[in-house]
Amino acid sequence: MDSEERKLINEIRDGLYDFEIPYEDGNWENFKKLYEERTPEGHRKRRKTLIIRLKYISAAALIGALVHMPWNDTEKVGMKQYRIFEQAGADTKDKEITLQLLNNRDTLVAPPSAGHPIEQTPKIASLTEPRLHDHIVIEPNASEMMPPPISPTIVEDKATYPSWQKEPIATLESQGGYTPASGRWKFGLEVNSSLTTYRPNVAAGILAQFEVAQKIKLSTGLTYSRISAIHDTDPVQLSYDTKMVGTKSLIKAIDIPLSIVYEPTDGWYASVGVSALAVLDEDKFYRMESEVLQENVMMDPENGASISVFEVVKNEYSERSTDTDFEGRSNLRYLNLSIGRKQRFNKNTDLLFEPFIKIPMGGLQRGDVNLLNSGIKVKVLF
């Protein structure tokens, strides 16, 4: 290599080595988005962020529930106790005064006033103490007919106490009061059918509901679903007589939802949540249409000669595709929105009717496949 050549190459190398284009704003942001979508590291990071967010939401919900519940329960139990003691106290002073039985909704009860003998022991447990019996049961000579030690529900019963002549004084029920964590779980079954797809989708499964607060519940479950979806594609002429007119997918999947249920009034509720879809099996079919020229031989009624009549016959058939769109894929999610009506069926069973809409997200959010799903769920909760 001569010196001229060496010099030239060095100049070119130096020139290119130092050549830079000024950075353009926004490139890093675009790259970051791409990087998170394409690389496993980015996926992991996004999943981690999502998990952290879910943890925060759950923690916030639990804290909210914990803060909310004790206040409510203490208030309710306290008020009811005050009412009993207030009324009992009144009765012991003047047996002729009749106090109306106040129903559950009545909360207009004043707290015990200063100097009231009973106010110093406003605890349920104290009601079992013999020295307080006369405050509870007004009839003085009915001590042998005392009810058994107090239960969460004290309901006055005239049949049990025949000598009882007064109007009932109070009712203390545990309804709406504090429920232990084990009693806040409800389990049930669910079936649903969609209305918007070209063929009704059916799903059935089990569900569990946890009462976080009086009006807020967390619901999860496991639902086996059969989803059929139409691909929004234009017809493709494959040959002179065959046309592919559409594509449909039949998916068998397990749907695992997690929802927050808000029940502002007794019986009506709304719910929002997400669900992860694990596709067990997917069949994809191409809907084909072929036009075949068919010859029909007919007899001429006038001269008896046979004539051929040609007609185009359309045949529709399906052809199974070897590829799939969702099977084996991750990040298949639905956003679930619903409102519902809860109907008490019997003491322990609720029947729920819930119109819902499932909006595809993540890997389900494909422009050419319509996986938007809505219909009605029927749930039974025990």
């Binding site: 100049e11 290119l16 050549f19 990087y35």
Partner: protein, 186 residues
């Protein structure tokens, strides 16, 4: 954000473990350089931008595998390593569109906002003029061999040609460059 020297210093100490902030600094610092590398192979800036982003994905995924034997020249070696990745990515991109517009020679659309003065008054525009006047295959072989530092076997594999063809292309490219250089400097 610190200076460029800070970045190289921080990076040279622990390039195997970098966080998001450092990735952002690396991207912003080397983006312009890698765009220059990509533009040696592809002609339009959009494609070059795409090549650079793909290259950065590979760079960030494999940065832990980068080996530096000479820490004094860390930046130079790192740039060379990045440039090699970018060149490979660009050639893969060209292969995807073998008959497309990507094989066109570089045109005047390059951004010459910061011309670099070279020895004997050879400006960066002149360098690009020289490079652009080579036929696509000569240009690729020349830049891969002389600038990126690939050997003929690697170039043969990258371009889908034989190693002897690569040698011939390189020799012809140099001849043509010398001829053009003489014309340019007259």
């Amino acid at each position: 954000m610190g200076t460029d020297n800070d970045l190289v210093e921080v990076l040279s100490k622990d390039w195997q473990n970098i966080g998001d902030k450092l990735k952002e600094r690396i991207y912003k610092h080397y983006w312009g350089y890698l765009m220059g590398v990509a533009l040696r192979y592809v002609s339009d800036r959009d494609t070059a931008g795409m090549v650079v982003n793909d290259s950065f994905m590979k760079i960030f995924s494999n940065l832990a595998a980068f080996e530096c034997a000479d820490m004094e020249n860390f930046n130079k070696l790192l740039k060379g390593w990045m440039a090699k990745i970018t060149a490979r990515t660009a050639l893969n991109e060209i292969r995807k569109y073998k008959n497309g517009a990507l094989r066109e020679s570089l045109t005047d659309e390059h951004d010459w906002r910061f011309p670099v003065v070279l020895q004997d008054n050879l400006y960066i525009e002149n360098v690009w003029d020289l490079i652009n006047n080579l036929s696509p295959n000569y240009r690729k072989v020349f830049t891969l061999y002389e600038i990126e530092g690939f050997n003929h076997d690697e170039i043969a594999e990258l371009m889908g040609i034989t190693a002897s063809s690569s040698r011939v292309y390189l020799a012809r490219a140099k001849e043509k460059l010398k001829m053009l250089y003489r014309t340019l400097m007259v």
